[in-house]
C-alpha cells in the first residue's frame, strides 16, 4: 500500500510513545545509572565507570550462564520449529476438528508461567509424578532434582510442551492462507508431496515462521519463571539461565551494579541476535 507522508501522524503515535517511553526509558536509564556506579548501601553511590561491564564480561559465571542460555535456546528452536511445522501440516483443514485441535493446542499458552513450572515440577517428581514415576518404572534412573541431564531433559520437554503450539498456530495460519488453486495446479503439474511442501507450503509459511522463530528466540532468551519454579536453576547451577542468574544477583545478593551491567549486556545480546536474524530472514525479499 502506498502511504502518504503526513507528519501529523505523530500525534496518533504520541500516546504509545509516551507510555512506552515512561515504561522503557526511565527504567532503562535507572539500569544504566546503576551499571556505572558502586554502592556500599545507604544510597551512597560512587562512579564506577565501565568496570562492572568489564567484570561481567570477564566473569566465568556470566560466560557459563550465557552458554547455557544459548544451548537452551537453540535446542528448543531446533525441536519446536520443525515439530510445529509437522503438526500444522498434519492438522485437518476443515470441519469441527479444526476448532477442537486449535482450542486444545492453545491451552498451554494461556496457563500462567509459574503454574506451568509447578505443574511440571509435580508431573516430573520421581515419587509422585506421572512422568517421573513412569520413567523410573521402565528402568530409567530419573531424578531431575539431582541429575543435571535429567534436569535439562525436563526443562526442554517442558518448553516444548509449553510453546510448540505457538509455532503450530502460526504455521497453520500460513498454511490455510494458501489458495486451493496452488494445490490444484501442483496436482496437475504432477508434484510430489515433498515438492508441494518445498515449493508451495514452505515459501508461503516463510513469513509466519520468521515471526514464530523471532518470538520463540526472544521469549526463550527471556525465560525466567518456568525454570525457576521447576528447578530453581539447579541442581547446582546447571540450569541457571541468564534471567535466573540475573535475578539471583540483583534481588538475591543486591549487587545492583553488576546486575545492571549484566542486564544491559543481556539486552544487547538479544537485540543484536534478533536484528541479525531478522536481516538474514528478510534479505531475500528485499532483493526482489
Amino acid at each position: 500500500m502506498n502511504k502518504t507522508v503526513n507528519q501529523k501522524a505523530w500525534f496518533l503515535v504520541l500516546p504509545v510513545l509516551l507510555l512506552v517511553a515512561f515504561n522503557a526509558i526511565v527504567p532503562l536509564m535507572t539500569v544504566v545509572n546503576y551499571s556505572v556506579q558502586e554502592t556500599f548501601g545507604n544510597n551512597v553511590f560512587f562512579w564506577a565507570g565501565i568496570s562492572w561491564f568489564e567484570d561481567v564480561l570477564r566473569s566465568p559465571r556470566f560466560h557459563d550462564a550465557l552458554g547455557r542460555q544459548l544451548t537452551f535456546t537453540f535446542t528448543i528452536l531446533l525441536i519446536e520449529v520443525p515439530l510445529g511445522v509437522i503438526i500444522a501440516l498434519a492438522m485437518p483443514r476443515k470441519g469441527i476438528w479444526v476448532s477442537v485441535c486449535l482450542v486444545l493446542m492453545a491451552m498451554p499458552l494461556l496457563i500462567p508461567w509459574n503454574v506451568v513450572g509447578a505443574m511440571w515440577n509435580i508431573f516430573a517428581l520421581p515419587e509422585i509424578g506421572l512422568l517421573g514415576k513412569t520413567l523410573n518404572a521402565i528402568g530409567f534412573d530419573y531424578n531431575y532434582t539431582r541429575q543435571t541431564g535429567d534436569a535439562w531433559f525436563t526443562l526442554i520437554l517442558m518448553d516444548v510442551w509449553h510453546w510448540t503450539s505457538l509455532v503450530v498456530l502460526l504455521a497453520y495460519a500460513g498454511l490455510v492462507s494458501i489458495p486451493d488453486a496452488y494445490y490444484q495446479a501442483a496436482k496437475i503439474d504432477g508434484a510430489s508431496s515433498w515438492a508441494i511442501f518445498r515449493y508451495i507450503q514452505l515459501p508461503k509459511m516463510k513469513r509466519v515462521l520468521t515471526i514464530a522463530i523471532l518470538l520463540r528466540f526472544m521469549d526463550s532468551f527471556n525465560i525466567y519463571t518456568e525454570p525457576s519454579v521447576l528447578t530453581g536453576g539447579g541442581p547446582g547451577n546447571s540450569t541457571t539461565l541468564l534471567s535466573i542468574d540475573l535475578v539471583k544477583i540483583a534481588l538475591g545478593q543486591f549487587d545492583l551494579g553488576p546486575a545492571a551491567a549484566m542486564s544491559l549486556i543481556y539486552f544487547l545480546v538479544i537485540l543484536l541476535m534478533s536484528w541479525i536474524f531478522y536481516t538474514v530472514m528478510t534479505r531475500d525479499e528485499a532483493n526482489q
Binding site: 510430489s192 515449493y199 526482489q288
Partner: protein
C-alpha cells in the same frame, strides 16, 4: 491429444439432491473434438466452473461419465488425466525462476534435463518469456504470471487439453486484448484442445471456434459465434450475447403465427400451438427498423453508442431497443417499427419454437 466426451453428466454438491434446483449441473451430453478451441460461457453461478473442475478431475461428478478418446477417466485423479489448467488468479511457484517454473511439470515426470531445456526454451519463445527466464517468478506482473501458468501446460507433450478458468480476470484492460490474441495464436500453432471458461462474451466469441452457453446448470446452446448471434436457440442466449441483447416480447399465438400489439407478424419459424407458460418473440435491435408501415411505437430515449444510436422505444406496452446507424434519421415521438421477418423468431417456454432437437 484427445476428443473429450461428456456423457449424461450430472452433479450436485449436496449428498441427496431432491429438487431440480439442487443440481449444480443438470443433464449434460457434449462432445469436443480434438484440437478445437471451445469456450464455456455463462453468468456467474451457471455451473461452468463446476464443469471445468469435473473435466480436470478436481471434482468427481455425481452421475455420468467423461471420456478422453475412448478411455473412461471419470474416476482418475487430475495428474493421470494429462490436462493443464490456467486458473483465475495466477499460480506460480514464487521461489523458483521462470525457467524452473516452466521446467517443473517435466522434472516431476522425470523427463531428462536435455529434453527439459529444449522444451522450456521452445515454449518460452512461444509465450514471449525468453527474456525473463532467469528472473524470479514472484517478480512478474499478472499477465507474465498467467503466461507462466499457460507455459507450464504447453511445455508438456502429453497434454490432452488445456483448461482456462477466467484467466483474464486480474489482467489490466489494455493487456487483455494482447493476451487474448496470444492465446488464439498459440492455439493455432500447437493445435491442442483448449477449453476457456468465462462470463465475458467478447472473450468467448473472439477466442473460440465453438461456444457452449450455459445457464443455471444447463447447456442452452452450442454453436459458432455467428450461430449464437444469428440463431439463438433460447431467449437467454439472445439476451446474453450481443450488446444490447435481443428484444424479447410476449406475444399471442394464432394458427402458428405470432401476434404482437394486435398485429400478425411474419417470423422465421412457426409455433405448432400456443404454450401454456410463455410465448415470446425475439428480435435483435439490429433487426428492427423504422419504416412507414408496421407497428405503432413511441421513441422514449436515444443514446449514442459510437457508430450506432440505441433507440429505446415503447411498443404495445413494452419497451424495446432499436439499433440505428449513426447519421440515420430517427423519428421523434411517434413512429412505425418493422421487424425483419428472417431474423424474428418465436420462443416458447424460453426455447426456440419448433427447433429440431435439444442441444
Amino acid at each position: 491429444m484427445a476428443r473429450i466426451t461428456l456423457s449424461q453428466l450430472r452433479h450436485s454438491y449436496m449428498a441427496n439432491p431432491v429438487d431440480e434446483a439442487d443440481w449444480a449441473l443438470k443433464q449434460l451430453d457434449l462432445q469436443w473434438d480434438d484440437g478445437g478451441a471451445y469456450a464455456l460461457l455463462g453468468p456467474s453461478g451457471c455451473g461452468k466452473t463446476t464443469l471445468l473442475n469435473i473435466i480436470s478431475g478436481l471434482l468427481e461428478p455425481s452421475h455420468g461419465r467423461i471420456l478422453f478418446n475412448d478411455e473412461d477417466v471419470t474416476h482418475l485423479p487430475p495428474e493421470q488425466r494429462h490436462i493443464a489448467q490456467v486458473f483465475q488468479f495466477p499460480v506460480v511457484y514464487d521461489t523458483m525462476t521462470v525457467y524452473d517454473n516452466l521446467a517443473f511439470p517435466l522434472r516431476n515426470r522425470g523427463v531428462p534435463e536435455s529434453e527439459v531445456d529444449k522444451r522450456v526454451t521452445e515454449i518460452a519463445a512461444m509465450t514471449d518469456l525468453t527474456a525473463m527466464l532467469k528472473k524470479r517468478a514472484a517478480g512478474l506482473t499478472a499477465d507474465g504470471k498467467q503466461k507462466i501458468s499457460l507455459g507450464r501446460g504447453l511445455v508438456r507433450t502429453d497434454v490432452n487439453a488445456i483448461l482456462f478458468d477466467e484467466p483474464l480476470t486480474v489482467i489490466d484492460p489494455h493487456l487483455k486484448f494482447q493476451l487474448r490474441s496470444k492465446l488464439k495464436e498459440l492455439h493455432q500453432r500447437v493445435s491442442r484442445t483448449m477449453i476457456y471458461v468465462t462470463h465475458d462474451q467478447t472473450e468467448a466469441l473472439t477466442f473460440a471456434d465453438k461456444v457452449v452457453v450455459m445457464n443455471v446448470g444447463e447447456v442452452v446452446q452450442i454453436g459458432t459465434p455467428e450461430e449464437l448471434f444469428d440463431e439463438p436457440q433460447h431467449t437467454f442466449v439472445g439476451h446474453f450475447i450481443g450488446s444490447p441483447g435481443m428484444n424479447v416480447l410476449p406475444c399471442d399465438i394464432d394458427h402458428g403465427q405470432a401476434v404482437f400489439a394486435g398485429q400478425r407478424l411474419e417470423t422465421a419459424n412457426k409455433a405448432a400451438q400456443a404454450s401454456q407458460n410463455s410465448n415470446e418473440i425475439g428480435v435483435r435491435p439490429e433487426h428492427v427498423r423504422f419504416s412507414s408501415t408496421g407497428l405503432d411505437a413511441r421513441v422514449v430515449k436515444v443514446s449514442d453508442a459510437g457508430r450506432f444510436n440505441i433507440v429505446e422505444a415503447e411498443c404495445g406496452g413494452h419497451s424495446l431497443k432499436v439499433l440505428v446507424k449513426e447519421g440515420a434519421e430517427i423519428p421523434s415521438e411517434t413512429a412505425k417499427l418493422e421487424f425483419i421477418p428472417e431474423s424474428t423468431r418465436i420462443y416458447q417456454d424460453g426455447w426456440l419454437a419448433g427447433r429440431r432437437s435439444a442441444p
